[in-house]
């Protein structure tokens, strides 16, 4: 496979996904496409030894560029590598969800720290294995595994709490109805 075919295949496989990933940050549409283009241009000049995992390479470069851009625009937390990047697409989806259980899960997910959300998104949405997530986020694989485990537990806990509150609210409403009729 020559380089033209190789770049073409990578672009077809990952450009759209990369757009979605970058759009989930506080990134304008214009900036998103610019960053995707810059990332693929960098791919053309990358060292072959760096490209053994091209997908994680693309995400790492795109993420670093996004962080630089957001830093430049002064809309990032002090240390985005630690605190993560805010995902803007969380709000609209919460409104779109009709299923109560899904809505609760999404609400719980929105409460997670941005860095944990990004990590879960890379694992579940972009299908990265732990090792590559560690590479993209600049952390160790062990810390990613531990953080994923904790995030899952946190999500379960919050969902249980929300279910409990909902259950109580329903009970109260039922108790109130006969009183009103009486």
């Amino acid at each position: 496979m020559d380089q033209r075919e190789w770049v073409d295949r990578l672009f077809r496989d990952h450009a759209e996904e990369l757009c979605r990933y970058l759009r989930s940050f506080r990134m304008s549409e214009e900036d998103t496409y610019d960053l995707v283009q810059d990332t693929f241009v960098k791919l053309l000049h990358a060292k072959p030894s760096d490209l053994r995992q091209p997908k994680s390479w693309l995400f790492t470069v795109a993420r670093n560029q996004a962080i630089n851009k957001l830093k430049h625009d002064s809309i990032l937390p002090v240390n985005p590598h630690v605190e993560g990047i805010e995902d803007e697409s969380l709000g609209p989806l919460t409104r779109m969800l009709e299923d109560e259980e899904q809505a609760m899960l999404w609400q719980a997910f929105s409460k997670l720290p941005a860095r944990d959300r990004e990590m879960m998104s890379l694992y579940l949405e972009h299908d990265f294995p732990y090792r590559q997530i560690a590479r993209v986020l600049g952390r160790s694989e062990v810390s990613v595994r531990v953080a994923m485990h904790r995030s899952r537990n946190q999500l379960k806990k919050w969902v249980r709490e929300m279910e409990g509150r909902n259950h109580e609210a329903i009970q109260k409403r039922r108790e109130c109805v006969p009183e009103e009729r009486a």
Partner: protein, 168 residues
Amino acid sequence: MRQSRKGENVSRRKELDQRLQSLLKGRQVPVDEERLESMRQSLLKQVPGRDPVSGSGFLPRYRFALAFGAAMAVIGIFVLQPHSPLRQGDPKLSVAYELRGLMKDEDQLDHLLVLLNDFVSTRSQEGAIIDKEFYNRSLSGRYQGNDLFETFYEWMYQPAESENSVSM
């Protein structure tokens, strides 16, 4: 009991992952496909003609062929060396053959000298002279390695009569 609890945890984890995955993948983030297509076209125009995976340049491109060639050469040396015509017959020649290989690497000069010492000390008075000559020359440093080898060679190829005369 433990296993079943663990299994339950795993299945709960899977269930949570699946639910969250369907939510995350279901996010409708619009992507401008026309724009991506034009980006792809412009990108492909910038692609240089090298193979990215095997790398640029002669060495990265032919690294497998080179590695195979080197491996075959090493195997060849080890397999064929015992059957080499140089190794048959005159013991001097076999030592010379080994020395020739050693001298390619100047770092092994010390080893060479040890080898020579072993060789010449088993010989006659002439051997002792040669031995002394080697060590004298070696004092001037490793750059004299080729010189030493030439001396040894000269000694080795001198006429048999002189060797006999000395030993007598």
